[in-house]
């Protein structure tokens, strides 16, 4: 009579951190009652960074798809929100989930084109598609052409209240983005993704539907970036094609994910917080700020590929229960316990 091998996902650290994360979100939700609106306004940016970094990491770190074109969905989200709110008459805040769905819907046909390319050519292909979306957007008179649009529907709401609402929506989007990524990685799909990342041919020959799995990731990531774009439109009350469709968003996403730790759930959040804190300090250096950003990303990729989170956690500490810990049945000749595997 042998005991079965058991596999556990949660560890003590993930149970503790799970509780702490819930408390953290609740605490963050209280923020508008505690600090002045200008500070709340600043944190909206941080939450947008968390969403963008998490979505880019899902795509590149887990899905193996390096996109340089996620700004397409940021732009679609921002323009979509202003259009739905001002021209269709949808409540501006309720438009946030709608534009996320819109971005996802647009990403489905786009994926059929983009997936014809792999690796580096996929990266430039997504960039071209983002450029096409920008060039098409500026053709449309209803979208303000080359000068963009202002969000008018929120102009009669008290700014304090508007900032608080935008902040809560941003917090909601960030929480959904992180939790959805967590659930995705924890699911059967996550195992398929890991298999594809490690060896796509072997994964396919073991019955993983590589393209379908990648498409799901691509579409989810587009939805998240679209929601982030919508939040940007809510907070700035303005969309300009050259800023929402800027490839600089991709530069920021790459920086955050690389610094924090690519291919982990914690890394992008750490990277977003770090980028948020560094940004103000680096802004005084003008153009050199971007040079520093690029150089740090290069050095980190080459010498600290596991990122800041990997450096701190050393692969042992985990805040999300995505790993597998194998417990072998009691053995007369005990073997050392298996180390937790990488998610």
């Amino acid at each position: 009579m042998t005991e079965p091998v058991t596999i556990r996902r949660a560890t003590t650290s993930t149970r503790v951190s799970g509780g702490l994360l819930v408390l953290g979100v609740v605490a963050l939700a209280m923020l508008p009652y505690i600090v002045v609106p200008s500070q709340v306004f600043g944190v909206i940016d941080l939450l947008v960074f968390v969403v963008l970094a998490t979505m880019w990491n899902l795509l590149a770190g887990y899905g193996g798809m390096v996109s340089v074109g996620q700004q397409a969905y940021i732009g679609i989200g921002a323009y979509g929100l202003v259009y739905l709110a001002d021209q269709v008459g949808v409540d501006a805040f309720l438009a946030v989930p709608l534009v996320a769905i819109l971005s996802a819907a647009i990403a489905i046909p786009v994926s059929f084109l983009a997936f014809r390319l792999v690796g580096g050519y996929f990266a430039i292909g997504t960039w071209v598609i983002a450029e096409v979306v920008r060039l098409l957007t500026v053709q449309v008179d209803d979208l303000g052409g080359g000068s963009g649009l202002s969000l008018r529907s929120l102009s009669d709401i008290d700014s304090k209240l508007r900032i608080a609402y935008t902040y809560w929506f941003a917090l909601g989007v960030a929480t959904v983005a992180v939790v959805a990524t967590y659930l995705l990685i924890r699911s059967r799909l996550g195992i398929a993704l890991t298999a594809i990342r490690d060896e796509p041919t072997a994964a396919a020959s073991n019955g993983v539907e590589v393209t379908r799995v990648k498409r799901i990731v691509f579409v989810v990531s587009a939805a998240g970036c679209g929601a982030a774009g919508a939040i940007l439109a809510l907070s700035s009350l303005r969309v300009q094609p050259d800023s929402v469709y800027s490839v600089q968003w991709t530069a920021f996403m790459i920086f955050m994910v690389v610094i924090g730790g690519v291919g982990t759930l914690e890394g992008p959040v750490v990277g977003a917080v770090l980028f948020f804190l560094l940004r103000e300090w680096l802004a005084q250096f003008g153009v050199i700020y971007l040079v520093v950003l690029g150089a740090v990303a290069i050095v980190t990729t080459l010498f600290v590929p596991q990122g800041l989170w990997g450096l701190v956690s050393r692969g042992r500490l985990r805040l999300f229960a995505v790993g597998h810990t194998v417990r072998l049945p009691a053995d007369p000749n005990p073997t050392p316990p298996a180390r937790p595997t990488r998610p």
Partner: protein, 289 residues
């Protein structure tokens, strides 16, 4: 401008795009690396030439004698010192590093030279042309660029097929491990391939700087045009790259002929059309360029 003229000028412009595409294609062919900073290095070459023109009073074409070997040496060192560390099964590190380089080069140039549009002046040769018909003229300079592009593609093809070094490069590209067992220094091969790619990108950058305006922000556009030429023509095919460049150039010029503001969009749409209908490119795989 008549339609015939638009097509002829588009074909000539295609030579320029093929020139840009050569380096991108070579680095991918040999190392399976897509250099996302490709366009920014072309702009770097153009600014290098501009500095020589302004400081030493050289003609832009004479600066090629310094800029091309200079950029080749830079490419060799960059591959040995930095990019070699990204070589591996996953394309992620190479993409992250070259994207980082793109940001660094672009913003350093912006810091040094401001965002102004620049041009390399060549005098009367730049504006002279053969008059073919009443409304059809072929500029001397675009014709020379086209000839250079064809000569470069032929030369590179002969180099890869007929010379010992070219064969070693192809062997390393096919199977790095086995090539190393046969005594090939694969790192040196990769660095030499990068050096050649950088020489072609410097040449393209300087010639482009004579033909049209450039600024520190021009790099991504040049990368995208080079990429579109490669994909339209078909990966790993020399003549495909030239054909891809020509198709892109013609698409852009005919687009501009229909609606002047839509030049770039027309090129992108033809690229997407090829991607949708013939993803392997107009000419399927051949030589590893």
């Amino acid at each position: 401008m008549t339609l015939v003229n638009a097509i002829v000028q588009g074909v000539l412009l295609g030579g320029m795009y093929a020139l840009f595409a050569t380096g991108l294609s070579l680095m991918f062919g040999v190392m399976r690396v897509v250099n996302l900073a490709h366009g920014d290095f072309a702009v770097l070459g153009a600014f290098f030439a501009l500095v020589l023109v302004d400081s030493a009073g050289l003609s832009p074409l004479v600066t090629l004698l310094i800029v091309v070997p200079g950029m080749a040496a830079f490419g060799y060192l960059l591959q040995r010192g930095l990019l070699q560390r990204t070589v591996g099964a996953s394309p992620l590190p190479a993409l992250l590093v070259t994207f980082g380089l793109s940001i660094v080069v672009q913003n350093l140039l912006l810091q040094l030279f401001s965002a102004d549009q620049r041009r390399l002046q060549l005098g009367s040769f730049e504006t002279g042309s053969f008059q073919i018909a009443d409304d059809l003229a072929i500029g001397y300079f675009p014709a020379v660029v086209f000839a250079i592009a064809v000569a470069l593609l032929v030369g590179l093809s002969l180099f890869l097929r007929r010379t010992q070094l070219g064969r070693l490069m192809r062997a390393t590209s096919d199977d790095q491990e086995t090539a190393r067992l046969m005594g090939v220094d694969s790192r040196n091969m990769y660095a030499l391939a990068t050096a050649i790619a950088f020489a072609t990108v410097a040449l393209a950058g300087v010639l482009n700087g004579v033909q049209t305006n450039f600024s520190p922000a021009s790099g991504p556009t040049l990368l995208i045009f080079a990429f579109e030429a490669v994909i339209i023509g078909g990966l790993g095919n020399l003549w495909g790259t030239l054909l891809g460049g020509i198709v892109l150039g013609v698409a852009q010029n005919v687009g501009a002929w229909i609606e002047p503001a839509q030049q770039v969009l027309a090129g992108h749409l033809v690229f997407l059309l090829v991607l949708a209908l013939r993803p392997q490119g107009l000419i399927a795989k051949g030589a590893p360029v």
